[in-house]
């Protein structure tokens, strides 16, 4: 018991500098933001009232939630397929999957966003090819809209969904899958009625991570949305640096942080932090 306590103390001491850093770098400034939301331009709850009535703010919130939801579904589904190959494939398949998962981490988010612009724009690779083979006559609007934003964000977020899924799939007892086959279940049926339900905690964890990340996206929507698919983070930026309407920007930030905090609380009810790496 004593050893356990002193272990905990030791761990706390080791973490102390990091905690101090996080407090100084994030919590303290955030308290300032909270203060602005109640005091600028005049003290009171005015900014929160405006938040509830301002059409633009509401449409941005709704768009953000919609994009985040679509990105979550697509990313988790794609990540699930990749992870199945990564965890259960042949050695060659594993290598390919691992490559697909790791490579995106080596390229910055900015580079990747511009890469997608090059692919998806009116005179980008995809539209040029499709026109060249005569499949379409007019270029498709693939970028500077929600579609482009969703593509870019999904691409960025898939690897983050892979890790919780992989940990769920790795802890699964193979014999349970064999048992299902032995009881007469086809491979397909075994996958859908045994494998997928047994990796539920991984799916929930992956979905929450992707969703939370999506809410705070800035660079990708700014570049691939071309100003037409503004998401919450970009809106906060615009309010603070361009309008300047610091009070409203601060209020939006506070709402966003509270929302994300609630989602994180939900996340940790379903998955232990260890499973996410």
């Amino acid at each position: 018991m004593r050893a356990y306590l002193s272990d905990r103390m030791g761990a706390a001491l080791l973490m102390a500098p990091l905690l101090l850093f996080l407090v100084l770098a994030y919590a303290w400034p955030f308290l300032g933001v909270v203060k602005w939301s109640f005091t600028l331009p005049t003290p009171g709850l005015g900014q929160y009232e405006a938040l509830l009535t301002d059409d633009l703010v509401q449409s941005v919130f709704i768009r953000t939630l919609r994009i985040a939801a679509v990105v979550t579904v697509v990313s988790v589904a794609a990540a699930y397929a990749i992870t199945v190959v990564w965890v259960r494939g042949t050695p060659a398949q594993r290598l390919v999957a691992e490559f697909c998962i790791l490579v995106p981490f080596w390229i910055s988010v900015l580079t990747r966003a511009f890469g997608w612009v090059a692919l998806l724009s009116n005179r980008g690779l995809i539209n040029t090819w499709l026109q060249a083979i005569g499949f379409i006559s007019e270029p498709l609007a693939l970028v500077r809209n929600e579609f482009g934003v969703i593509v870019g964000m999904t691409h960025f977020l898939i690897p983050f969904a892979v890790f919780p899924l992989a940990s769920a799939m790795r802890s699964l007892d193979d014999r349970v899958l064999l048992a299902a086959r032995g009881l007469g279940s086809s491979r397909m049926r075994t996958f859908w009625s045994v494998f997928v339900p047994m990796t539920r905690s991984g799916i929930i964890g992956a979905a929450l991570i992707v969703f939370v990340f999506s809410l705070g996206f800035f660079v990708t929507p700014a570049i691939l949305g071309g100003g037409r698919s503004v998401m919450v983070a970009e809106l906060i930026y615009l309010r603070i640096f361009q309008s300047p309407d610091w009070g409203l920007g601060a209020a939006i930030s506070v709402v966003l942080v509270l929302f994300v905090g609630a989602l994180m609380a939900l996340l940790f009810r379903y998955v232990r932090p260890k499973q996410l790496i």
């Binding site: 064999l178 032995g182 009881l183 007469g184 086809s186 047994m198």
Partner: protein, 364 residues
């Protein structure tokens, strides 16, 4: 619930399995009769699970063919065979209730809802899980999980039930109870049972026949008393229980069996000296040997000195050394052991002729 006619008859011919250069099973030929209770017995790593997996269709043999009711099923995938399997550790579906676990094989066979309900209900009653239908496997005790696994494997009336060390995780009392229950289920369903264990007493108690494995080879198959009393070789003799071995000289066939010299005394055996001639080993189970003051003429017996005793409650285990230094262990009534020890010197070890059997000298 099930007609014995549904039980499968299995024939394995020349089955072999290599993992890389490692030989896990070698040239295994075995007939499993309709409705029989066959136990695969052997030490760890002897290939029991591998053979069971081949029967279930989870592992493809490198050589040999497998027949079920005369049909070649070697290349048939697991889901198309009619084998129920109980895994070590049970392998229940953790996200499904007891009921849903048991219903699973019926659902994949697209049985009607009413049919499923009836058969799952029957099965739950049969294995004594009433009142636990809605629980998840994690909410059950080890013994209850075991019952769910059995019910799930039997509910679709498989031709054969494969069980891989189903009781190894249970404590001794529960183990005995489940053994009795499994024997009952075997009689009630009439299905062919293939049961893996490395507990020899479990094998002898439950089975109609025992197949003994070692290093991927099938050494002997036979009824429990057959393999226990007349093992083909030294490994089987030793694996099935304690055994005393005495060196024998001048072994030759005799009127009804064979004779030889054991420490300069003539002894006779009922078994034939077919492959063994000259020097051999005489093997006798401890419980068949008794102690007396003097061997009467014509009786098998040698002189020995008691060296040690272990009180076992109902009997005493006595360690003795023969004149020529062979070690022998017997299990005798307590007062006889006390008498033998108090004498301090020579006693006679005797045994009936039909209880001694011959093993080749040296080797296996």
């Amino acid at each position: 619930m099930q007609q014995p006619g549904r039980a499968a008859e299995i024939k394995a011919i020349g089955i072999g399995k290599s993992f890389g250069s490692f030989r896990a099973l070698d040239n295994l030929t075995l007939d499993i009769g309709r409705g029989e209770f066959l136990t695969l017995l052997g030490p760890s790593g002897s290939g029991k699970t591998t053979f069971l997996m081949i029967l279930a269709g989870f592992v493809q043999p490198t050589e040999g063919r497998l027949f079920s009711d005369g049909v070649d099923i070697t290349d048939r995938p697991a889901e198309q065979r009619t084998a129920g399997m109980v895994f070590q550790g049970y392998a229940l579906f953790p996200h499904m209730s007891v009921e849903a676990n048991i219903a699973f094989p019926l659902k994949v066979r697209k049985k009607s809802a009413a049919d499923i309900k009836r058969r799952v209900g029957e099965m739950i009653e049969r294995v004594g899980l009433k009142g636990h239908e809605k629980k998840l496997p994690a909410q059950l005790s080890g013994g209850q999980q075991q019952r769910v696994a059995l019910a799930r494997a039997l509910v679709f009336e498989p031709g054969v039930l494969l069980l891989d060390e189903p009781f190894s995780a249970l404590d001794k009392g529960l183990r005995g109870q489940m053994q009795a229950e499994m024997k009952r289920l075997h009689q009630e369903t009439g299905t062919t049972f293939v049961f893996v264990t490395h507990d020899q007493s479990e094998a002898l108690a439950l089975s109609s026949r025992v197949a003994i494995f070692n290093h991927g080879k099938l050494l002997q198959v036979g009824a429990p008393d057959e393999v226990y009393d007349r093992p083909d070789n030294r490994f089987v003799a030793e694996f099935l229980g304690e055994i005393n071995m005495l060196p024998l000289k001048g072994v030759r066939p005799a009127d009804n069996g064979s004779t030889g010299l054991c420490e300069d005394r003539a002894v006779s055996m009922r078994c034939k000296a077919e492959t063994v001639r000259g020097d051999a080993i005489l093997a006798i189970r401890p419980e068949y040997m008794s102690i007396s003051g003097e061997a009467t003429a014509g009786e098998n017996g040698i002189a020995a000195t008691a060296t040690n005793s272990t009180y076992l409650g109902a009997a005493t285990r006595l360690d003795l050394t023969t004149r020529q230094g062979a070690k022998v262990t017997v299990s005798v009534p307590n007062e006889i052991a006390a008498a033998a020890l108090s004498k301090g010197n020579s006693v006679w070890l005797t045994w009936p002729a039909e209880k001694g059997f011959l093993l080749p000298h040296g080797g296996q």
